[in-house]
Symmetry: C2
Subunit: 171 residues, 2 copies
Amino acid sequence: MLHAAVVVEFIKMLSNLDAFFDKAVMHAEAKKYDPETLLLARLAPDQFALTRQVQIACDTAKLGVARLTGKVPPSHPDTEKTIAELRVRIGQTIEFLRDFAEADFAGAEERVITQPRWEGKTLTGHQFAHHHVIPNFYFHVAMAYAILRHNGVDVGKKDYLGALPFKAPEA
Amino acid sequence: MLHAAVVVEFIKMLSNLDAFFDKAVMHAEAKKYDPETLLLARLAPDQFALTRQVQIACDTAKLGVARLTGKVPPSHPDTEKTIAELRVRIGQTIEFLRDFAEADFAGAEERVITQPRWEGKTLTGHQFAHHHVIPNFYFHVAMAYAILRHNGVDVGKKDYLGALPFKAPEA
């Protein structure tokens, strides 16, 4: 179940996040501005700009899954300066997530999770996933969406959610 | 597990959403404006305003849990015009969610879910929860946050996430 929530679903949402940038580039072309200017956009002066929102969405997925499973995540030094570089970062995060199988999450719910900044305090894997990783991940994808939306990019709920895996009605 | 993801966690996030309005009222008092003006705020002219974001967050939780369990949800006609009324709506949604136990979700993952606007197409309960209810719910809570943040209300990530259920380090 954690595999579905933090691997399968995050891969889909990261693909949706990646596709926001197709809409961003289309908007920039139509309005004749440099799409890279969007990377510094934010909704408030003390909010992280778009680049950082995307980096944190990627890190929340990558580090969350790594901590839940005990695997070592790839390092990303947050040096992305262009849309193309950010999309590579998203793609590398998706590739990392794709390597996980359900079996990698055996015992993950009970695993004791900590981080240096928690100063010795701990969460169970279950708590960490549901109270930290999942809400944080959706938050940063939604903030990237909100920043683009506020700047006129034609993203909508369908872009955020992606396609649903519907089963057709019986004939 | 679905109970943890769509009942326990949604109750917490709805409580956090409710508390955003304490910060909104504080901001309005400090800046001497009517806090109700925030209810019509939005990030783009074709985006739902704050009131609707809150209503949809509540409905996504309420209808999602109802469909997953086969229970009948309470009706809310979307008539809220004030912050106080919206907070009642949030509170009633939390009360509805509190009535669910883990046992109510027996078979929920395999349940066949449909809605009139899906025109006969279906999802399993598992797909419905992970591809629709959960990402949608977080989206609308995050949009309410983003709208308030953009208007200068002092909400931050801690207000969105709420307190984490840490275990203290061993002495």
